[in-house]
């Protein structure tokens, strides 16, 4: 698998590398610009210290190759002829100017699965729009949904759009590969981050087309029609997420919550005896008043304020309730579940640093995912890949290096 992607596509190759693919990361001379982007290990800038690079190039080998040079392109074509997959994330048209676009490579490599990850797709009226994570959040219909009602919409402060796109691309690549096992033919995969991030809008995008009310953002919750559903609740020492909803599947959780509160003397008999499964339907029909719903939420809020995050989580686990603490990043790392499942994977890096990464994204009973390679250093596998595998002699490699092609 040849991974020519920029930060837009790193995750795609890493997911497939985790699954065992032999991924060769191809960087420009001097290394990927991502190596200059912080944060850095020990806050010390340097090409082998960029966390965003290290985090998404595990299980890949790395070479440098100058694709602005005709000889560099020719080398890439030779490699592509031996590859099953190629991943790229250039703006549409850029690969064509290098004669490395899918139509150009298809002839020599008819079985190649060519994966393109872009902001808005390979063609269309906005294909040349300038993008960023925030822009894609806006374009995808997700940004409008998050934040406080009385202020501007806000995004998640850790960029997300291209991670959605890259993860989509990994699944798409394997669908194409499965198809290839039957047909023997490759194809191009076209992933637009605008569409990928849109999944996080939970189909609210469809409202206009189905003649439904627009979903408006609500601080710490969601509006479902006229019902304001809080999902962030203050407790004694912080915040928890708690679901108080209705219907056959979810109402049982609300019933158990209220039962527990009644046992603890935290609500009235009338509240305990309410039918929470049918409550939502009665609210929408007007049989129950919104004022009654608001009062019930106040009673729950008052109960939550008497307990700590840890106590509430314990109560939730013991009684099967929908409550969980709102974790900081440090809390996530200390969560006993991930520790018990030996999720965190520690990888040694040159220079002595050991970094701890999120572990396998799924557990396979066959061959488990292993983190067999740290991210490559700049040009680390030039000789191995171009020499031993592509068959270039030492002289040829020395020449290419001198000419600035590798």
């Amino acid at each position: 698998m040849l991974d020519l992607s920029t930060e837009r596509g790193f995750l795609c190759g890493q997911i497939l590398g985790d699954l065992g693919a032999d991924v060769i990361k191809i960087e420009p001379i001097g290394g990927s610009p991502a190596r200059a982007t912080g944060p850095f290990v020990n806050d010390a800038p340097g090409p082998e210290n960029a966390i965003g690079w290290l985090a998404f190039n595990r299980n890949k080998r790395g070479i440098t190759l100058n694709l602005e040079h005709p000889e560099g392109r020719e080398l890439l074509r030779r490699m592509a002829a031996r590859a099953d997959f190629l991943i790229e994330s250039e703006n549409p048209g850029t690969m064509a100017t290098r004669a490395l676009d899918y139509p150009a490579l298809r002839e020599a490599s008819p079985a190649l699965v060519y994966v393109s990850i872009t902001p808005f797709g390979q063609d269309g009226p906005r294909v040349s729009y300038v993008d960023s994570d925030l822009i894609l959040m806006a374009a995808g219909g997700v940004l409008i949904l998050s934040g406080d009602e009385d202020r501007a919409p806000i995004r998640m402060s850790v960029p997300q759009a291209y991670l959605h796109a890259s993860a989509d691309a990994a699944g798409a690549a394997l669908i194409a590969y499965y198809e290839r096992l039957n047909s023997g033919e490759g194809q191009q995969i076209d992933v637009a981050a605008q569409e990928s991030i849109g999944l996080a809008g939970q189909s609210t995008a469809l409202a206009a087309l189905v003649n439904s009310d627009e979903t408006r953002r609500m601080a710490g919750g969601a509006k479902m029609g006229p019902i304001r559903v809080p999902l962030v609740w203050p407790c004694k020492d912080g915040l928890v997420s708690c679901v108080f909803l209705f219907g056959a599947a979810i109402g049982v959780f609300s019933r158990r919550l209220v039962d527990h509160m009644f046992e603890q003397g935290a609500c009235s008999r009338a509240m305990k005896d309410t039918d929470w499964i049918g409550y939502g339907a009665r609210l929408l029909s007007g049989e129950e008043s919104m004022a009654n719903y608001e009062r019930n939420k106040e009673v729950i809020a008052a109960f939550l304020m008497t307990r700590t995050k840890a106590e509430l989580f314990e109560i939730a686990r013991a009684n099967n309730l929908l409550i969980a603490p709102i974790a900081t990043i440090e809390d996530v790392r200390q969560n006993p579940q991930f520790i018990a499942r030996e999720y965190w994977q520690t990888v040694a890096h040159p220079g002595g640093a050991s970094l701890t990464y999120p572990g396998p994204f799924a557990r396979f009973s066959g061959k488990p995912i292993t983190y067999r390679r740290r991210a490559p250093m700049v040009g680390e596998h030039n000789r191995e890949v171009l020499g031993a595998e592509l068959g270039l002699s030492s002289e040829e490699i020395a020449n290419l290096t001198r000419k600035g092609i590798i």
């Binding site: 729009y129 925030l134 374009a139 189905v210 439904s212 599947a249 991930f338």
Partner: protein
């Protein structure tokens, strides 16, 4: 003639429900898999009760979220309490290549449908279980929705204003990450099976998949001790960077400026030559330092204009800008229209429905979305008769035994 769909030979017995799991099988159906989605009439999928609803009418079949997550699947209802229903499930297991479930770990075991049991029925079966926290560990039985996994994974604390309680991401955020990893895991298992004949079991903890979207903060926190707290729309590499008010009710435009050239282009578009020439704003650091003042200057300009007009003006000069799109904007977005993002598909009882297309395109074997989600129990006869080959008498007898609930 169109090429055969990639997954035309894949048969899936689907016990997924709610959001994260069905998102996986929606993709499989898009690319040709036969997906038999099991529901219980006594405990229908909660997603049926979540909007947007067609014409704002809350009905069992009217949820566009339900349609969107289940288009192209064959829905059947089974009362799993009935032994005869479980016998049908065993036949479906023999028929299937893949069995899915997203219940809490104990449910499939209680029905004697855990992987060990399935493997006895069909040795090369692939099974994927997708639940919040995974099949093992102290929180294995912690059941819930994606908002709870998002809270436990740290996503809530990353969306908010520094002076307020975090707003959190919209709804059940991990439910929109996990399906991608689940699909990829399942495809890897299908490829492995095609090459070796071996099935396997996949334990997907939705939280463990979702944390890959927070790898940078997790590594940074572990090695540098840095904590991540809400910063609204602040960005370390763009300035100005934010969401600015436009003319109208809840209308906004997102703008992201990285370079000095882009900054000058914004100033020229705003006709603010003094700002453009201000030496303090030549450098990124200068613009970042004074971002509050620059945000005010930009807002003073944007608030009188339509968001699309601002977007067009700024994109025309190479500045990243986009209307903060709501549902009406998305329906009219020319790029999404060009890509055929929204598609009309028929539903047996609702009539015309609208769903979103596959979020990725395969050039030679594109997704085919021809039907909406199934009505409750719509394919009971079809699945037993056509897919399992039961006779009409057998199906009628099972109906008398009320296996369909």
């Amino acid at each position: 003639m169109a090429a055969k769909l990639p997954l035309a030979d894949v048969k899936v017995l689907d016990f997924f429900w709610v959001l994260a799991g069905p998102g996986i099988t929606r993709s499989l159906a898009d690319y040709g898999a036969t997906v038999v989605r099991v529901e219980a009439t006594t405990r229908t999928d909660p997603v049926r009760t979540v909007g947007p609803f067609k014409d704002n009418q809350v009905t069992q079949e009217g949820s566009a979220l339900w349609w969107n997550n289940n288009a192209g699947k064959y829905g059947i209802t089974l009362d799993m309490g009935k032994p005869a229903a479980r016998a049908v499930v065993h036949d479906l297991v023999r028929w299937a290549d893949v069995v899915t479930d997203s219940f809490s770990p104990k449910a499939m075991k209680a029905w004697d449908l855990d992987y060990d049991a399935l493997r006895k029925i069909k040795p090369d079966i692939i099974m994927i279980s997708s639940c919040l926290m995974g099949q093992t560990g102290p929180l294995a039985r912690f059941a819930g929705f994606g908002n709870l996994a998002a809270a436990l994974c740290g996503f809530y604390n990353l969306v908010g204003w520094p002076d307020r309680t975090p707003s959190g991401p919209f709804s059940a955020y991990t439910d929109y990450i996990a399906p991608r990893f689940g699909l990829t895991a399942l495809m890897a298992a299908l490829i492995h099976r095609k090459l070796t004949g071996e099935g396997q079991y996949i334990d997907q903890a939705q939280a463990e998949s979702a944390l890959h979207f927070l790898t940078v903060p997790l590594v940074d926190n572990a090695v540098n001790g840095r904590e991540y707290n809400p910063v609204a729309n602040y960005d370390a590499t763009y300035a100005p960077h934010g969401v600015y008010p436009a003319a109208g009710d809840d209308r906004w435009v997102a703008i992201a400026c990285r370079t000095e050239d882009q900054w000058r282009a914004i100033c020229a578009t705003m006709e603010q030559s003094a700002l453009a020439e201000d030496p303090r704003y030549r450098t990124f650091a200068g613009r970042q330092n004074d971002r509050a003042a620059l945000d005010l200057a930009i807002s003073a300009w944007t608030r009188h204009l339509e968001p699309q007009a601002i977007e067009r003006k700024l994109q025309a000069v190479g500045v990243a800008a986009y209307t903060v799109q709501n549902t009406f904007d998305l329906a009219a977005d020319p790029q999404l229209a060009h890509r055929g993002h929204f598609i009309e598909v028929p539903h047996s009882t609702v009539g015309k429905t609208c769903v979103e297309n596959s979020r990725f395109k395969l050039s030679r074997t594109p997704a085919q979305v021809t039907r909406s989600a199934p009505a409750l129990g719509e394919y009971n006869q079809y699945v037993l008769g056509q897919l399992l080959g039961y006779s009409e008498d057998q199906v009628s007898q099972l109906a008398v035994e009320e296996i369909f609930g």
